[in-house]
Amino acid sequence: MLIKRAERQSRRGSLAGRVAAQAEGLDRRSFLRRSGLLASGLAVAGTLPLGSVRKAKAAEAGPLTAGATVRKSICTHCAVGCTVTAEVVNGVWVGQEPSWDSPINRGSHCAKGASVRELVHSERRLRYPMKLVNGQWTRVSWDVAINEIGDKMMQIREKSGADSVYWLGSAKMTNEGSYWFRKLGAYWGTNNTDHQARICHSTTVTGVANTWGYGAMTNNLNDMRNSKTLLYIGSNAAEAHPVGMQHMLESKELNKGNFIVFDPRMTRTAAHATEYARFRPGTDIPVLYGMMWHILKNGWEDKEFIRQRVYGFDDLRKEVEKWNPEECERVTGVPGAQMERIAKMFATEKPATIIWCMGQTQHSVGTANVRASCIALLMTGNIGKAGTGANILRGHDNVQGATDVGLDIVTLPFYYGLAEGAWKHWSRVWETDFEWFKSRFDDPKMMNTPGIPLTRWFDAVLLPKDQVAQKDNLKAMFVQGHASNSITRIPESMKALKALELLVIADPHPTTWASLSVQAGRKDGTYLLPVATQFECAGSRVATGRQLQWGEQVVKPIFESKDDLEIMYLLAKKLGFADKMFKNIKVENNLPVAEDILREINRGSWSTGYCGQSPERLKAHMKNQHKFDLVTTRAPKDDPEVGGDYYGLPWPCWGSPEVRHPGSPLLYAPFRSAMDGGGTFRPRFGLEREEKLPDGTTRKVSLLADGVYSEGSDIKDGYPEFTYGVLKKLGWDGDLTETELATINKIGGDKPDGVSWSTDLSGGIQRVALKHGCIPYGNGKARMNAFGLPDPIPVHREPIYTPRVDLVSKFPTLPDAKQFRLPNIGFSLQKAAVDKGIAKQFPLILSSGRLVEYEGGGEETRTNPWLAELQQDMFIEISPADAAERGIKDGGWVWVTGAENSAKAKMKALVTERVGKGVAWMPFHFGGWFGGVDLRGNYPKGTDPYVLGESANTITTYGYDPATGMQEPKVTLCQIAAA
């Protein structure tokens, strides 16, 4: 039996039969190689049954891949950003070669990256549009599908309003695709547009941006080669970002560095640690404060850094002082002596970095968790220098990009927000009348109201109408590239699946949306649209280090699949706003040109510095990959095409492309000049703040940096963001050209002074600021006290379902409140769980995470035989002590039951010391089973993944971060019994 790891023997039998059938069927590459058809005209092989391929002359002898065209794209799994080098012969992807030139992956891949070719020759892809007719999957044409979907949407809009249609997009889309999807929501008239970042790093984006300006990884993977101390809390990079581990392990080796891992599990990453500390899931803040307690006690903090660049240190100190070693150990389980050792390494062996991923973010306290990590970096001055920083590893290949382009419920593209000014800015960029947008919304107020988080879509379907703060409940889900099994509380989402009037799943695979919706009892009103993988699309993607990379189209979309953008075009046309929406975009055979969309992004994205990365510059980077340095990621200054650029022009890349800003590999790094990628903290929260003193009086404290500025700055102190008004005060307005000034006046109308670096479409204000060595957004302080957030100073709050009921009264979750149009009743549930003694009934903590072989909801990777063979069974990790108490044998079947909805799931047990006593862990990639029932028959024939299994989220429970709506799949309670 193959479960995880220890015994990795292949299981044969029925699964093997399925794969063998594929080898004899549509395995095009071996077919071609064996039949000598490589030299024939096979450009459309993907859409033809093999029987109808014309026989052609046999290939000449010699290497079979000779004569292949090489195309470069980006791996579509995690966000490391590995270049994929594809060999294509006659339109067929025949081989994958190492991408030696990429400074990020240097030839390497993980199991997923080394097998991506399979994605585009998989015979189990969804081949053509389908719909449910009386509960049966039936083939329909694209025309019919788009027409029926469009008509139904219009009908729902008429009756229930624009907000009743939910637009769930994807981090798998290119920047162009995800940007366009957000735009689709705007033109439809709703802010109910979301994607995977919600359940991935929404808390990072909010927490980190509220600390120092932008919510993204501050440094990058290559830069970690400079680190002396790597501290992981909530990241299992060895499984989630394996190629990133290359840089991390080499850093550890070359610098004889400290490799510290905090994790409830002794992970594959922890196996390489110099120091591993186990802690109880859900206590990240006490762990970090416990560490900071030692730092403050010993005076290891960076006092000068704090004085110049940090706001709110005194407030923070008061909170940290509560976490003495005894209290820290009582709550987290980490011994004080070990904590002191780690604190010393982190604070004194510099440069140090903190690495995190979903271990920190996926909590009802996610935003506070990441804030505590930022605070630890600020306290020790470990930010804005090489080898330091918040190295936040993003999950999907373009989740950073999709977040930046605003495929989100709280903002328009590039973090402009939803206020009127933001809508006006984008109205100008899109050249569409602001009043028209107003007319598209159910109520003009809804334009400025954040949408419903994807984590709550089913609540928005099921809750009584008066509890959903929009015109009506959700009636339709349009899902383009998002799993359903990655969202918690599946038993409740089943009810909503049944209740929806319209469900559209646009994806390369039917996904668990399809199998669960049939199980839920849907008989009609359900459509499957085949979407191409990103290897079949061109466009830019953003790696975790904020680097943009242009991916070429490797092969044309297979079967009847369509490019994401083409589907959006067809839908916009049907819904009647294509002319407005595609005004400045060339459309060829229904396919919008990706380069045109990127140019539009360049024209509007001043706030985030996506303005300098033109398609031409990005393509030049892909062509010249070998010229970039491994550690600095910089190209030699004298190179004619990419001279002086940092690889991937990491944003912010200020000014228009002609300014040739090199990109910013390290955020907030004043040791570099503005035009050299330098930066400062962004003053985003006012210029000063009134504080109450103990004696009742008040004082005003500046939020601008004190005596520190980026290299070569003409202003030798803190300064606010640049506006036309600020330029005038400085006397720099004369540097603006006449054309720039005309644009500023046109935008500003009678108030041109208010036109800023982020709304000036001419780019003049940015250009002038850079000319004077200044950062366009200003030079402020980072905030330890992030006033405005639910917990301005992070405080520990027990998970909704915690085994430590004794701690709930001291560390309760936040009171019930209304957030994102819905009630958040976490407090009531936490209290009820304590009152009802749930922890006695379900005594084990349940956590979840990743396996290296699978990605996200896993349907795509479980459909890839090369990967599926390596993980054939859903399992739960349980400690030997807990297993013995329950009579559970390693490899035996167990029932896992959850704390809500009488949830149950059947899977295999993996008895291992990897988890501590009292903790169980499941991978979250499985799907296709529900409550012990195999749903294989619910997939359209021939599209079922090779491997199915219970979803972890069948067991997970309530819990939402108040600032972002993040779900809580990392801590809940369960019970396990032998089946």
Binding site: R12, A20, R34, G62, L64, G107, P242, V852
Partner: protein, 198 residues
Amino acid sequence: MARMKFLCDADRCIECNACVTACKNEHEVPWGINRRRVVTLNDGKPGERSISMACMHCTDPPCAAVCPTNVFYVTADAVVLNNKDLCIGCGYCFYACPFGAPQYPKTTNFGSRGKMDKCTFCAGGPEADGSKEEYAKYGANRLAEGKLPLCAEMCSTKSLLAGDGEIIATIYKERVAKRGYGSGAWGWQTAYRETIAT
């Protein structure tokens, strides 16, 4: 000529299985045949280490010594290859191999196990280099194209090294000297009757 070897640096291996799927991808290896696999020792415990395993292309290969039909031959690069035309599927090589490398496509209790398959060091088989026939039986011949085995070329952490034994030994020695630790060239004593002094 070079003496080709594999070396897995257990202090770098993170059990990501890139080597396994790269092999599947390059040679279209069917489900159930594992030319390469990753083995983890002390799984989930302190001291956990993983090693990527395949045919090591031994000096004086024990498989060849027991083969009744003379399937095995050694190339000028010291790569141990097998001629599937001669194989009767007796399974002796499986028992002789210290690394568990030989794979058989059939699981029947009776008769032949089918023609043995194993890692070719991406060097194909007896047919003409790069021919369709060679590909169908053995997979790609990267060595003939001047490339090294894809498993090592794609290794996520540069743990798995493949190439001239002296060169990879030097790389490993330098790495150990620089970082100050190394658990040794796993399997070398068995396969090549030598170790790397570090």
